[in-house]
Symmetry: D2
Subunit: 118 residues, 4 copies
């Protein structure tokens, strides 16, 4: 079965191939491109209050959606060239966080837990 | 049908709910958290040559996988609190790039196209 | 006359020279290192309210000072290898912003001005 | 004696004051703005080889200078609202790195040293 993410990865591969852009798509360069797009996403929120960030008007939401689209594309592409399974990597980190952040100790708290020791 | 991404979004919602962390998860804060994780990802590549970034040893690949996991989690969570469909947003941006970057004009070139006009 | 910034740039040059690190300090790599450090700085503020970010306790302020130190070092080093005068570059951008943001039009507003045209 | 950096900090304070923008300039928001500008700086280098990043043409160098100007302004402003001395913070971190990175052990190496213990 092909998932939504695999379909995007395949579409990106073809997009890059027909433009002969593989030469630019090293993991190093893709990490930079991802970082640049996240910078644009952060910039959308920089002067907003917490409350305003939760009630974006349609225009702002459209810009944020576009930036999130860019971030998603570079993240999928980076994982693809590295042979990393995004979904598995995310579940593994969430497993780790579930162990580190015992709800009884961290309920309602933004404190950082000590590093994982597994 | 529940996709891999929806499953992660639902798992994250529950992870956050039992810890009463919704109060921290404004779009503004999540964009910052995403940015911090991307900073850690970029740091993994900063002193590597292009070639080295394509041939990571197992230890480096493990660290990169973990950072990509963190980035994916915050990206999914941010999209979820904003009600944005990650996959649709990514396809929309790729549609736009396919229009802006005519293969005949941009083959093998890293030039930036003029902004989209549609 | 040697300014504080020139003194730091010279001290950094010597620090890098005795370690034979010039090979790593390309503008591309230094921009990445700067980005990684800014990610750590942003992470210090990600779960804080606006008000909390204005009243850091001594421990948090110490961490933020250390991150700001790192950011400053990489920024100075990047400008140095590119032969860019940081202070002149900053004044030039502030001149531009002073022209773009007429106080009568932008007082108390976080709206973005149209791009500079000069 | 007023240094170049103090002069910029004072000029920024006045620029902000006449526009009544102090309300937006919390440390949290300024860290985000800094991050956004660093994202634009990184984007200038993302598709360049190491070598190309060392030989920018005048147009690219002009764009990089402008981004470095923006980064410098937000860094100075952030340090100013927090009451942090940029230059002292940078020297303190360079002192720490000089202790952690013994030239005899790290000459020509991009390995990361263990965390400082002072």
């Amino acid at each position: 079965m092909t998932t939504d993410l695999e379909e995007l990865a395949v579409r990106l591969r073809e997009f890059v191939r027909v433009r002969e852009w593989e030469q630019f798509h090293t993991p190093k360069n893709l990490a930079m491109a991802l970082s640049g797009e996240v910078g644009e996403l952060v910039a959308e929120f920089q002067w907003l209050t917490a409350d305003e960030s939760q009630h974006l008007d349609d225009e702002a939401l459209g810009r944020v959606r576009a930036e999130i689209g860019d971030v998603t594309l570079y993240l999928i592409r980076l994982a693809d060239v590295l042979g990393i399974d995004l979904v598995a990597a995310a579940h593994a980190k969430l497993d780790e966080s579930a162990r580190r952040y015992d709800p009884a100790l961290y309920r309602g708290s933004a404190r950082k837990a000590p590093p994982a020791t597994n």
